[in-house]
Symmetry: C2
Amino acid sequence: MTQTMDDKKIIKVHDSDNVAIVIGQGGVNAGTELQAGLIAVADIPQGHKVALSDIPSGAEVIRYSEIIGTATETIPLGGHVNEHNIALRQPPALHELESATREYGPPERLEGYTFQGYRNADGSVGTKNVLGITTSVQCVAGTVEHVVKRIKAELLPKYPNVDDVVGLTHTYGCGVAINAPAAIIPIRTLKNITLNPNFGGEVMVIGLGCEKLQPSTLVSEQPVKMYDSSEEASATGNILSLQDEQFVGFAEMVAGIMAMAEQHLAKLNQRRREPCPVSELVVGTQCGGSDAFSGVTANPAVGFAADLIVRAGGTVMFSEVTEVRDAIHLLSPRVVDKGVGEKLVQEMQWYDDYLAQGQADRSANPSPGNKSGGLSNVIEKALGSIAKSGTSPIVDVLGPGERISKRGLNFVATPASDFICGTLQLAAGMNMHVFTTGRGTPYGLSMVPVIKVGTNTTLSRRWHDLIDLDAGRIASGEATIETMGWELFHLILEIASGREQAAVDRLGIHNDLALFNPAPVT
Amino acid sequence: MTQTMDDKKIIKVHDSDNVAIVIGQGGVNAGTELQAGLIAVADIPQGHKVALSDIPSGAEVIRYSEIIGTATETIPLGGHVNEHNIALRQPPALHELESATREYGPPERLEGYTFQGYRNADGSVGTKNVLGITTSVQCVAGTVEHVVKRIKAELLPKYPNVDDVVGLTHTYGCGVAINAPAAIIPIRTLKNITLNPNFGGEVMVIGLGCEKLQPSTLVSEQPVKMYDSSEEASATGNILSLQDEQFVGFAEMVAGIMAMAEQHLAKLNQRRREPCPVSELVVGTQCGGSDAFSGVTANPAVGFAADLIVRAGGTVMFSEVTEVRDAIHLLSPRVVDKGVGEKLVQEMQWYDDYLAQGQADRSANPSPGNKSGGLSNVIEKALGSIAKSGTSPIVDVLGPGERISKRGLNFVATPASDFICGTLQLAAGMNMHVFTTGRGTPYGLSMVPVIKVGTNTTLSRRWHDLIDLDAGRIASGEATIETMGWELFHLILEIASGREQAAVDRLGIHNDLALFNPAPVT
């Protein structure tokens, strides 16, 4: 702990709050004086809440100037407030929400910042140069992974401007109720992922042949054509199906995929970075393994950086329906018009119904680790989570798997599951990813750079090689939300330009896609 | 085509059938004489059905002596019968089924066959010797895959009796409604996979720390303890969580996993094969990429081999609810008692409800490729699918993710999706896998040997290095169901003993687990 941290033992977010969180590593013991007139009457772990006044049974517990629950017993001044002594309230009623009521002044434009990106023919801009190989069905995933290894070893070194080759494998395509209403979600997700700017329009599709999801659903169809010269096989096209009768045996399938890959690698190898305005950034934000610091350090810093990007004309998305649902009354006033407000309510209602159908509700969140980290319930988690959205107006709301069409701050409705959310943000078109964590997660994607922001210094130091930025310095007073927000903004530009590498890219830790399929499997 | 195939142009399964399927590669043109008095009046592709009499509109179309649909138009003698001119009927009503009515004579025991297996302390027998590394949460999947590569390269060569190291990664563990009723399915699946006999009781769990699914749910808990000698790190235990404070940075996490893996590799390396009776085999059967030959060549041959294994005291499972649902009236009489009959009905009802909840039904199956292969609808597919079960009594019915407890023929209720079914059969305890395919799929698992049986010679020849056994020889008259069944039985014993390798193991094509999670994600 630094000297500064010793000076300040708790963080109170808002004047009206009747709880604050304990800052220091290891927490505090009963009897510790936390500030003048406030003595802990119980042992309180790091990040957990202390009562700033006597809170009678049934009274409201206030954090972020919002009600996070009601006391289930009388909690004395200095007492430990946690999931065992506060009760969850009903979430805000969706039909009573005020929509588009916030007044926004003229935008305070931010000029003069650029990054080095890859411009694509469709106008989008990439931050990496990656050969994406998707599949129309899970049956070919093992084959694709097998071939990707060979492409990396044998072909990639010949194309030095290409950063990576990625198998966009998944568990969809057959053995699924492809005509069920909710099947639209995984299908449009897979289709829109092929349009992600980092793939430069060169995505290949490997299919089987007999699957329900036909490859032409995903890309405009150019079936593979093989040519045999005296030297070696070459190929054109972007779709190859293993059952195609031209392939006799596995070795020929592999050779076909390799030949097709080489053609796309050659095209990608011609891409060059050029200066691009920040308005071409599409930043996906997410939090995972959150703790009570998330909402006062890393997430507000991300929100500040998000505002900078929006002011520069860029695009930011935030997501995670179950982690905004209880703070929806704070978001609904921020939408730009009633139409967007209706979309927001529809997405919330869809998820309420989806959870109810499975006999669950939003209290399935938070996780045990969130609770150990001081987050008593999903209301407190949501209030911290939405800090990532900053203060900009919400220009659009997208359903899961849809692609962004408006610059500015977008709400992209996704599950909070990190991998599903990341996959859906990829489909939405993100070219940069910012991920905050308090408990710690090695989350990484190979398709876009993932910047990891630690919410507390304890974690950021222990995971020194996994965390890119320590927002815990806000708690200790070494930084402010504003300085940290600017630091993150500059880091985004450096990493988007390929001048710095994100920690997970340095270490080579990359997760697979995880599709959201709320429709039945068969 | 062989001489024999030229002699016989169609296969009629049962005397009462009014359709037969066309055998030869390329199908037949209109005007071809198929047998005395039968001339094709349309072009009919290979595997597709020809009408053996005039079938009036509204009349029943009969194959396998069962009604597979009703004609939607008058189909002339020699006409092409397919999904466009037959209508799907309602599936058999579950409350009207006759249960446990089939009389079985005393079992005709088969003696004298053994295989070389790995006996485990719990009495189960393995057919491979594999270090399984599972995870309690998807967050660590990228890390596990990263470390598995290093273990394979750096440690595995030191333990020559160990066949492989497998990351049992999946998309469950957090961001899920873990208390929803249906969550029991993925949770028991993951737990029971750790008990699969091929892992020899040495499965390790890599966790994160903050996840909902705690590692102790999966294995009896022995948290990792690290020891630093002057030389290198060593470890005991079977659970390692990345958030554990003893790991400072990613490199230490990797070192911890490697050290723990080495301890388990050393134990596995002491396993030795020994002669085991066939009663220790647990064979999972599956079909995927089926065609109209499946039900007359490969599946009946698998059924014959299944009967041999059951006669020798072994265990066979068949699965795929949507592909038995329409033939359930043929299975229900075969259960050993009313209790098992009730379990069978319950599993069917559960799936009917599950599909209805997603606004789908069993007509979501078959796939376009099944139809191209001659399977007009799910009834015809089901009648061919259940041929895999042979003729033995059904001793038990298991829910998805449950573990087998009775020797003999078991129905394990799973989706028909190949990967989900395979994952659930792994959880049920299979130590051998037999997979039939007509259209072709490169399906493979690294955890158990997968024998691929081709339903037709066209595929088996083209995919010469991917198919282990060509059951298409039954259609051409070169083999019978009985000779092919015995051939498969002997091949199972050879591969189970490690004396031969399955094609997918030779080629190294292996798919990941695919969990069945009918509960909501959050």
